[in-house]
Amino acid sequence: MTMKKQILLASLLALLVAGPVRADDRAMLPATAGDLVPTHLLASEPAAAGRLDARAPRMRIERRPVHVSWALPAGSALQPVPQPFARPSREYWTDVSATELQRGVELPLTAPGAVIRLSPSDVRGGRLQADGVQLRIGGHTLSGTRASRTVAGARTLAATGMTVPEASLVMQLRPELGAGPVRLQAAGASGRYVVHVFEPRSALTVTALADRDDLLLGQRLHVEVSLREGDRTRPLQAAGGFLRSPDGTTTVLDYRDDGAGHFSVDAVPLHASGVPGLWELHSFTVGDDGQGHAVRRDTTSVFAVAVPDARLSGLASTRRAADRGIDITLGLIAASGSRFAVSGVLYGRGGDGHLVAGAYAQSAAWVAPGDGALVLHFDPASLAGISAPYELRDLRLQDQPAVSTVERRALALRFAQP
């Protein structure tokens, strides 16, 4: 592709980190619903470079300014607003003690052929074999070996790429045993266990749908939790869960019932994570199948949270660059020094006269606290497929060492000529 040739090191540029934009420059378009825009700034902690904890992520923080641009393929259909991800859950987890497992724990099953995994905390003393486990289902008591179509250990699963915890025992129950509650018992249990139940054939699923994919510290995430059986919604009896930050900090959440068995929860991350990563909202639910059998399902929603340590000032200027490309200078206000990056998609009139996505640009530099600016440079080759008038869309401001998006605008700027 020729676009790779358009990628340039910005060490050639003095214009990459420009001074603050002038007050007489054009204002960015107003933010729209779905945009991510900081209303106040917070100074962030210093970046995580050189952490002593070997398990913590290691960051390499670049100090040299870099900018790139390339042409986008004709017909690129872009979605500037991140869509929250959700998938139906057919599984649940529970934590049990050795004493509970010795006495027997009840596991609700809604469909034949469930996969049950036991993962011990004590990987030596707590390791269980299928023959050492008993399952009572449908009036029959069977050993794990006899009740299972397939039995596998952690090492066997690791060979497939599925890295379950060490000393795990996985059993897929024989489908002919049917569904309904199962009593799982292990006389030789030791320590604690996580029991994972997955029901691949079940029509009963729980989905947790968030209203957004990213937010800023202090903003609210709203999640709706619902139980479905095929196309029909069924009421849930209870739902609970917690918020987990990338550094492992958890906050228990209060779920609300709308009276019809649909639950929702609001989560507001208030404290920055000590390490970069994504946040998780874990929901644990209980419902029933309409025939008196319990349905348990757990599900996880994933989203990004950023410390609003910088924002776009709202002022921008456009000009024809020395190489005949287009420079878009974006004002920036930073509460803390960091390496910030801006990126955006330039739309313009295509060959058929319609507005099309033509070019992508990304620019990053170290920015000191206070007022500053970053320049998106679209080089001439990247602009080959489009002409004026232009729109700058999917504009994003990212704090690179924090691996976070601090501002995002679906449509930022319109201009006829640079």
Binding site: R60, L72, F85, R117, T150, D213, D394
Partner: protein
Amino acid sequence: MQRMMLMGMLAAASATVHAATGVALVHGTGKQTNAYGDYWQADMVEGIRNGLADRNNLLVVNCDFEQYMWDDRAAGCLAGQLTNFIQNRNIDRLIVITHSNGGNVMRWILSNPTWDARYPEIIRRIVKVDAIAPSSAGTPLADAAIAGNVFETSLGWLLGYKSDAVRQQQLGWMATYNQQYLLGTGGRPALPVAFRDVVGSDVVSAIWSSQAYCGGYTQSVGLEITQNWLSSCSDGFIECSSAQAAGTLWFKDRSRTSGGAVLNHNQSRRACFGLSSILANDIRE
């Protein structure tokens, strides 16, 4: 006029002769110190090497891909080894062949060229990335392997194996990374270079089938369990929809392999069913 044409032809030929083509093999999840022997194995590497005019222009990357793709031990390590390879061998035409999560680490570099001043110089030399079975949209097996670990933080005990690379390959995590920081998936801007997917579509594990033995047979029992999490089109670890979620489809296994064999996730990093020859031929193009 004839003289000018001749000079033009000579110049073009000269450019071809002096263009140094190199190949880099990028492994998947795991901390590799001998990816040649442990991850790819000699038959695969040497088969691919056959596609190079200069057989020395091949790099087998060894990095710590137990980390998040953006971690310095992952993308940073990959960038360092690619940069040294390009400089030491004067590579100006680089073909990157990735397997599994290695595709995500490579895509991080392609999507975030301003992250590191070394990235644009690498990208400038890449002619294509052949991504074999990339976990571009994650895998349900990562969710199943790691999701129960949430109890460790609430209960204070550890559940053994934990890897940021596995955490990152959960479906919800990859969906968010694809929307926030990565390019090349549906609705997102295209990558700066071609990212071509090789997709494994099924697993043959019948004990009587010779196809089941290439690359090793040990995972067959495990696959009977893991297939429960996966759609009908998968290589036993990655669903076809994930393997072709980023970039463009190059080929699905049956359409190019010897005898129309399928490539399970283990076989797609081994010299099974003519795969190394397919890759070698592609280097020559």
